[in-house]
Symmetry: C2
Subunit: 339 residues, 2 copies
Amino acid sequence: MASIKEIAKAAQVSCSTVSRALNHKKGVSTEVRDKIIKIAEDLSYFPHSGARSLVQNRAGVIGVIIPRTSEFAFQSPFYNHVLLGLSEMAGRHDYNLMLIINDSRSYTSFYYRHQVDGVIVVGNRINDERTIELAEKNVPAVIVPGFPEGEYQNLATVNSENFKSTHRAVSYLIGLGHRKIAFVLGSMSSKYSFERLEAYQKAFREHDLDYDPAYVAESDFTKTDAYRLMGELLDLDQPPTAVICINDTLTPGVLQQIFSRGLKIPQQISVVAIGCSDLLDLVLPPLTTVRVPAEAIGQTMARVLIQLIETGHCNKRHTVIPTDFIIRESTGPAIGQGG
Amino acid sequence: MASIKEIAKAAQVSCSTVSRALNHKKGVSTEVRDKIIKIAEDLSYFPHSGARSLVQNRAGVIGVIIPRTSEFAFQSPFYNHVLLGLSEMAGRHDYNLMLIINDSRSYTSFYYRHQVDGVIVVGNRINDERTIELAEKNVPAVIVPGFPEGEYQNLATVNSENFKSTHRAVSYLIGLGHRKIAFVLGSMSSKYSFERLEAYQKAFREHDLDYDPAYVAESDFTKTDAYRLMGELLDLDQPPTAVICINDTLTPGVLQQIFSRGLKIPQQISVVAIGCSDLLDLVLPPLTTVRVPAEAIGQTMARVLIQLIETGHCNKRHTVIPTDFIIRESTGPAIGQGG
DNA sequence: TGCAACAACGCAAACGTTTGAGCGATTCGC
DNA sequence: GCGAATCGCTCAAACGTTTGCGTTGTTGCA
């Protein structure tokens, strides 16, 4: 409500001086500055962000795009944790978040329409032409996941260490004597499904073992489907002695199938979860987990984007965040296996 | 990038005409209008929202404040679903969402600093002075939950039907013969814990029964605490034959305690969940649930706020959204009870 | 023919802020 | 003690829109 003019009048100085005083720029004496600041507080003055963005070409807002249905975005712990990291880091640098969910329009149009300073895309699809447009129009942007073909000045990526972590988990299970290791994947159009499957295969090869494709199930990422698929896997003549769940959404479905059959974990089947959900922390026994650092992903994305916005370049265009492999009580030696 | 000026030059008209043409106001011939619109598209023009908000005093942005830690906000399905409803309804009316989580500053300052058109507070604490400030400064705002003392022109509330739904659930359990009905509450400083407990008590009174406070447990809203409390409840000399979980965060803890003891649901204990989490839908057996319509709450909040913003008043200052009581398979007749 | 009404458009002010240029007054260096 | 640098401040332009008012040209009506 109160504008810089009223403060200027009250303090008997010009607008310029008020602006400089409030922004702590030099060129204003301490007495005048203190006086102005006091008046501004008394009048409960807040700068008009629109006017400011007009002249400064900076809005102090980061656009966050989640190209998923709202349902999906808010149900998956991954997005929640990324948002958490984003909001934390953005807040620390005095940026706010503008949220766009399930908008079919171009990312670039969003950037222009809302005068955000940069754009973050969470859950980028492989080969989404909108990401390329973003890069070609030189919009400061950070995406997860994905490595675009070209090298663009203003486009950065953040990924989690999919291959390595999955590889470690599978190797661990093999080391425990497991050979029939079920792997409940999501859709293979998803980048990380693909990477993690490769890791799975490589771990088998490294131990001079063949892996049986029958134990790899491709789901549509829903709990229901995971429940169904796990049922099919357990109905095999040689049911798996271990199972890996590729993400948070699937894990409950797999677990419920196991629980419903009264199978003991880890005595009868070992379980490894990949994901970031805390909701599963209370599952008994505590699950051996590949923890995807979604919060750190969000933080990093925000940090890189802000650097991109403010300096026009970034130190690392492609960041890979390491995952943790946490061995807890849901995994144990395979039974009835040759070791 | 492209401004209205460039379009004006290209179309050989004045800025005014361009503005009028693009905003579909009258005073411009159809030929000129079409020409301008075409040029605007070719130049991929987007109006500068800052400049627009400067002169129109409207930003097209709704501020969403969640006065919780980021962890809490993003873990609880309630907030997620409210956000879902908000984003859906806001999008439909061409508003965007600006998200503020865990900001200790005044709500009013947020309103002014970011030139949002109105403010939504999700998870208002009883007697939070910041809400009152919002109302007193006449900022268009909608809050959940809560009924402030005074009647303020620009402050509206949305609540879910806490009392009625809980009452119905408890009555149902009593009808099934249950007498020792555990109730795992959250903190009593929370409005809905309080309301729901009252409903619980009233249901007992109405059936001419005394309720035993020993079965009411006040938690700190965490899974861990719920797990612990449910353990204590089951260790009672006369363990409960039914349990009601007051919200999504608690339910997994309670369930895990039950599962870990190998108790059969509903043969040995009936379970009623209050909440909106879909994650629990896959729990076996499917839970009898008081479904809190968080998504509808979000939608309603957005709708009311937009009305408040655009017309300066709203039809209903206090909206109460009904809850559903969904009877599924986790509840059954009490065993070893006199009926 | 004369005049009112109206449509289509341009002009310029206004929104609130930042910032380079400019201008006295004081201080500094030598 | 004189020019140069510095300080503290003001002026005014600029950012991109919208919009009331004015102007021109056309049409309608008597």
